[in-house]
C-alpha cells in the first residue's frame, strides 16, 4: 500500500498522499476483523443501491406539486413530511437516490479513466514530460477541487451534467498520483523485469502485470471516492452550480428547503441525513475492503 499513516519527514509528497488517505478516513490500525462498523457500512450501501435500482419504479410522481399539502409534518401518510410544494420528502429522497448515486458513479468512472491515462503518460513518457505532468498534479492537488469545479460548472452553465463534468475534470489528481506510484514500483519488480526480458511488450506488461497489481488499492479508493463524490455532487447543487429544481438530487433538496427550515425542518434534515449516511456507508466499506485485503496479503 502506498498510503501510510505516518507522514515521512523530508518527503512532503508521500506525506501528502498519507494526509489525503487519512482525510478520506480509510486507514486504521489495530482493527478487529469483521467489526460491527463493517457490517453497518455494507448494509447502508446495500440499501442505497437497492433503493436506487428499485425505488424510482415503485415511487409515486415526486415532481408534481400539491400546494394544499405544503409543509406537512412527518406522519404515517408522509413518513418524512412534505416540502413547500406539497411533495412527499421520503419518496423524493427515494427517487433522488438514483440521481445522486448514478451521478457519483459516472463521475468516479470518468475521472478514474482520466487518472489511468495521465498516470500512464507520467510513467511511460520521456522523463521531462513525466516531470511536467507531476508538476501540474502538484498544483492541482494544492488547489481546492470544489472551487475549480465551480469555475467549470459556471462556464458551462449550472446543471447536474456540468457538475459531473466539472468533478470528473478535477477529481483525477489523487488517482493519477497513486497509480503512477504503484506503476513505477511494479515496473521494477523482478517478475515484471523477467517478463520484459522474455520479450513481453510494454502495453502487455501494463495490462497483465501492472494494472492487476494496482487493483486492490483502487477498490479501496473507489469505495472511499464514491462517498466523497456524493458529498461533492450535493455541495455543487447546494451552491447552485449543480442539479436545479425541481430535481430530487439530495443536495438540491437541501438548498430548496433552506428558505423554510425554521418552519418545516424536515425538508432539509432528511435529504442531508441521506447524504451523510450514504457517504459514511461508502467510507466504511472502503475501510472494510482495505482491512480484508491487507489481512489477506499478511496471511500469505
Amino acid at each position: 500500500m502506498t498510503a501510510t499513516a505516518t507522514p515521512q519527514r523530508r518527503a512532503p509528497r508521500a506525506a501528502g498522499a498519507a494526509f489525503a488517505a487519512a482525510r478520506r478516513g480509510w486507514r486504521t490500525r489495530h482493527r478487529t476483523a469483521g467489526s460491527v462498523l463493517d457490517v453497518v457500512g455494507f448494509a447502508i450501501v446495500g440499501v442505497v443501491v437497492l433503493t436506487a435500482l428499485v425505488g424510482p419504479l415503485i415511487a409515486p410522481d415526486v415532481y408534481a406539486s400539491h400546494i394544499q399539502n405544503a409543509r406537512l409534518a412527518p406522519s404515517a401518510a408522509h413518513l418524512m413530511g412534505t416540502d413547500d410544494q406539497g411533495r412527499d420528502v421520503f419518496w423524493r429522497i427515494v427517487v433522488g437516490s438514483r440521481t445522486t448515486l448514478s451521478a457519483a458513479v459516472i463521475t468516479v468512472i470518468l475521472y478514474s479513466v482520466i487518472g489511468v491515462l495521465i498516470a500512464t503518460v507520467a510513467v511511460l513518457a520521456p522523463r521531462w514530460i513525466g516531470d511536467m505532468v507531476m508538476r501540474v498534479v502538484d498544483v492541482m492537488q494544492a488547489f481546492p477541487s470544489l472551487i475549480f469545479a465551480l469555475l467549470i460548472a459556471a462556464l458551462m452553465g449550472p446543471s447536474l451534467q456540468s457538475s459531473i463534468v466539472a468533478l470528473a475534470a478535477t477529481g483525477w489528481v489523487v488517482t493519477a498520483r497513486l497509480l503512477a506510484g504503484i506503476m513505477r514500483e511494479t515496473l521494477t519488480e523482478p517478475y515484471v523485469e523477467a517478463a520484459r526480458t522474455l520479450g513481453v511488450s510494454t502495453w502487455a506488461l501494463l495490462l497483465r502485470h501492472v494494472f492487476p497489481n494496482a487493483l486492490p488499492t483502487l477498490w479501496v479508493k473507489w469505495a472511499g471516492d464514491l462517498g466523497i463524490t456524493i458529498l461533492l455532487i450535493g455541495s455543487m447543487s447546494f451552491i447552485g452550480a449543480g442539479a436545479q429544481p425541481p430535481s430530487a438530487e439530495w443536495g438540491a433538496m437541501v438548498i430548496a428547503a433552506k428558505g423554510y427550515v425554521t418552519s418545516a425542518w424536515w425538508g432539509a434534515l432528511f435529504p442531508g441525513l441521506a447524504i451523510a449516511c450514504t457517504s459514511m456507508g461508502f467510507a466504511l466499506v472502503g475501510d472494510a475492503i482495505h482491512h480484508r485485503l491487507s489481512h489477506r496479503v499478511k496471511g500469505h
Partner: protein, 347 residues
C-alpha cells in the same frame, strides 16, 4: 562555505519564490485552457440574456476573447500580471474591487478555523496518545468517519437552525450586529479591526458571529489532524532521545514541551499547508449559509448571476492565496527544522 548565512537563506527563499511564481503561471494557464475548452460562449454568457450581437462583440473584446489562441493567452496573462481582472457584469465595477472586499472576510473565517482546529486537535491527540491502547479504536473510527462524512453545507444549516434560530445561543448570520459597532475599517475584517483598535465589545460581537461558521469549517480539518497527530505523538514518545531525556530526569511537561511537541509541529505545519486549500473550498459552502460576504458568497452569487469574470478572478485569487500559504509553510518549515535547513541551504 564562502557565502554567509543570510545570503544562503535569501538564495533559498528566492528559489522558492521563483517556484511559486511558476506555479501561479501554471495555474493561470490551466484556468485559461479550461475557459477555452468548456463548451458555451463566455462572451454570450457575460453579456447576459437578450444582448445584441454588438454587445456580445464588445464583451468579447473586454474579456480578451478576440484574436488567436496564443494572442489571447498572452493578453490573459498580461492583464493578470497588471492586476486587471476585468469588469463584473453584475456590479459593473472592477472585479479586483469586488474581490478585495471579500478576501479579508474569508481570511478571517479560515484563520479562526485553523486556530480552533489546532486548539482542539492537538490536546485531543496528545491525550489519546498518552492513553493509547487497542481499546476505543472502533469508536475513534466511527467518529472520524462521521466527521468526514457529514455534508458541510447541511451541518451548517442544521446548526444555524438549532443553535441559532431555535435556542438563540448564536447570531444566525452576518459578521457583526448592524449598527451596534463602529469599528474603523483597517483590514476589512471586523474581528481583526476590533482587535487592532482594542474594541473588546466589538471583538466579542464578531467572535459570536464567527463561532458557528468557524466550528463547522474546522470539523473537516479536526478529523484528519487528530488522526495524524495521534500517530505522531505515539511515535515521538517512543523515540530514543525521549527515552534518554526521561532517563535524565526531565519531567513530563518538559518532555512534551522540549522534545515531543517540536517533533509533532512538522506534520502539523505540512497539514495546515495541504488543508488550507480545502478550507477555502469549504468556506464557499459555509459562507453562503451564514450570509458572510466573503469569497464564497461572492462566487456563489457570481455563479447564479452568470458573472463569469468574477468567478474566474475569484478562482485565480484563491489559487494564489493557497500557493502563497504553501510557500510560507515551506519556508517556515525549512527554517525551523535543522535537518531540512542543512539539506536545503547548508546552514
Amino acid at each position: 562555505m564562502l557565502t554567509s548565512t543570510p545570503a544562503r537563506i535569501a538564495g533559498y527563499v528566492g528559489r522558492k519564490v521563483a517556484g511559486t511564481i511558476l506555479t501561479v503561471l501554471v495555474l493561470a494557464v490551466a484556468v485559461f485552457i479550461l475557459i477555452q475548452i468548456t463548451p458555451g460562449d463566455e462572451a454570450v454568457a457575460a453579456a447576459g440574456p437578450g444582448a445584441t450581437a454588438e454587445q456580445i462583440e464588445q464583451q468579447r473584446e473586454q474579456l480578451g476573447l478576440s484574436g488567436s489562441l496564443p494572442q489571447r493567452l498572452v493578453s490573459f496573462i498580461g492583464s493578470l500580471a497588471t492586476g486587471n481582472l476585468g469588469i463584473s457584469s453584475a456590479s459593473h465595477g472592477p472585479v479586483t474591487d469586488v474581490i478585495a472586499a471579500a478576501v479579508p472576510v474569508t481570511t478571517e473565517l479560515v484563520v479562526v478555523s485553523v486556530i480552533l482546529s489546532v486548539l482542539v486537535a492537538v490536546p485531543l491527540a496528545a491525550l489519546s496518545a498518552i492513553r493509547a491502547s487497542g481499546r476505543g479504536e472502533e469508536l475513534r473510527r466511527f467518529l472520524i468517519v462521521l466527521v468526514c462524512g457529514l455534508p458541510t453545507f447541511w451541518l451548517a444549516m442544521m446548526l444555524q437552525w438549532v443553535l441559532g434560530a431555535k435556542l438563540g445561543w448564536f447570531p444566525i448570520s452576518g459578521r457583526y450586529t448592524i449598527g451596534a459597532t463602529s469599528v474603523p475599517t483597517i483590514t476589512g475584517s471586523t474581528l481583526f479591526d476590533a482587535m487592532l483598535v482594542g474594541d473588546w465589545s466589538a471583538m466579542g460581537d464578531a467572535l459570536a458571529h464567527i463561532a458557528l461558521p468557524a466550528t463547522v469549517l474546522s470539523l473537516g480539518f479536526i478529523g484528519p489532524a487528530y488522526r495524524i497527530l495521534r500517530t505522531e505523538f505515539i511515535t515521538a514518545a517512543h523515540r530514543d532521545f525521549v527515552t534518554v531525556a526521561r532517563a535524565a530526569g526531565h519531567g513530563r511537561f518538559q518532555l512534551l514541551r522540549r522534545h515531543i511537541v517540536p517533533h509533532v509541529m512538522t506534520p502539523l505545519l505540512i497539514l495546515v499547508g495541504i488543508e488550507f486549500g480545502s478550507l477555502f473550498g469549504g468556506a464557499v459552502l459555509v459562507e453562503s449559509v451564514f450570509a458572510r460576504d466573503g469569497l464564497g458568497a461572492m462566487l456563489t452569487n457570481a455563479v447564479a448571476q452568470k458573472d463569469s469574470t468574477v468567478v474566474i478572478g475569484g478562482v485565480l485569487v484563491i489559487g494564489i492565496i493557497v500557493v502563497v500559504v504553501n510557500l510560507l509553510v515551506d519556508v517556515v518549515q525549512t527554517l525551523r527544522d535543522p535537518r531540512l535547513r542543512s539539506a536545503e541551504m547548508g546552514v
